[in-house]
Symmetry: C2
Subunit: 158 residues, 2 copies
Amino acid sequence: MSDLFPKKGHDHDRCVHSALAQAEKVCDAENARFTDMRRKVFTLIWQSHKAVTAYELLDALTAEGQRVQPPTVYRALEFLTELGLVHRIESLNAYFGCDRPDCEHLGQYFICTDCGRVAEAVNEEMSNAVRKAAMGVGFTIQATTVEIKGLCHDCATH
Amino acid sequence: MSDLFPKKGHDHDRCVHSALAQAEKVCDAENARFTDMRRKVFTLIWQSHKAVTAYELLDALTAEGQRVQPPTVYRALEFLTELGLVHRIESLNAYFGCDRPDCEHLGQYFICTDCGRVAEAVNEEMSNAVRKAAMGVGFTIQATTVEIKGLCHDCATH
DNA sequence: GATGAAATGTTATAATATATCATTTTCTGA
DNA sequence: TCAGAAAATGATATATTATAACATTTCATC
């Protein structure tokens, strides 16, 4: 069984740091500005292993001393989502960092209903099944939402 | 290519009627009451080929002469959803009738972003891919959301 | 430094959803 | 059949999520 979540003891700060570097690269490539606000929102999202709601981000930013209004957060989220740096988890109305912003992919999300952690998978078998099914009914895919809720291994066994 | 939506000329009233009959059977089997309100909401959902929002249902009921408040609609939706008679489309915050309320299944939804129509699929290849992926990471599935947005064949070609 | 485009600030409000308590309806068992 | 309990609905208020519209600031470019 492969790991759903990062192994114990992994250096999360380092992950966040590397995600930031990736994000910068992507923005650069797209000629998009990775502004302060966008960086802050991105970082807050990446600092969590759970999906984060817009208003949680709002609160976090306010706690940091910035007085911020909803549109500011939603704009940052829209920007990050459009570049593929962050994914929206539809069934949670919340946002989650994307591991692989640099390549096109149909991602899948595992959401543990017990501990709340989220993990992105890029499983070709799932993606291909979706693509094939769409093809079979003459459907042209624009976007897919694959969210799987249940118990992660830790929560199921402990 | 198989059809995504019902063929032209199919008798939709008859579909709705048969869905109602099915719903009654399911409620019976579960010892659940298919009350007037629940029947009305169910029917309104089935009369549409699109997903319907709670407030659209509210408006429709009000137009029918009932003065109805949000909790009433949400309660009916919760009831119908729990029995599997209706599915929530997470990416639309809307509801859609389920063809196969009598059997357990992991459904998939095709949503045309042009005409707005929705179709449920029960594609074993997709379901199995999801189950297998979950198994592979030791994840116990409670519920899945598979929503595919894009262009249906009609909209892509016309 | 002037200019225009992009980003953010600000205010207001729309859209979606639920908590709580009151009332009515339905079922159950004496 | 009717008293009591359970289920469903009504009513009121409010929480949560999201966007519209216009003002101001920031930033790249000339």
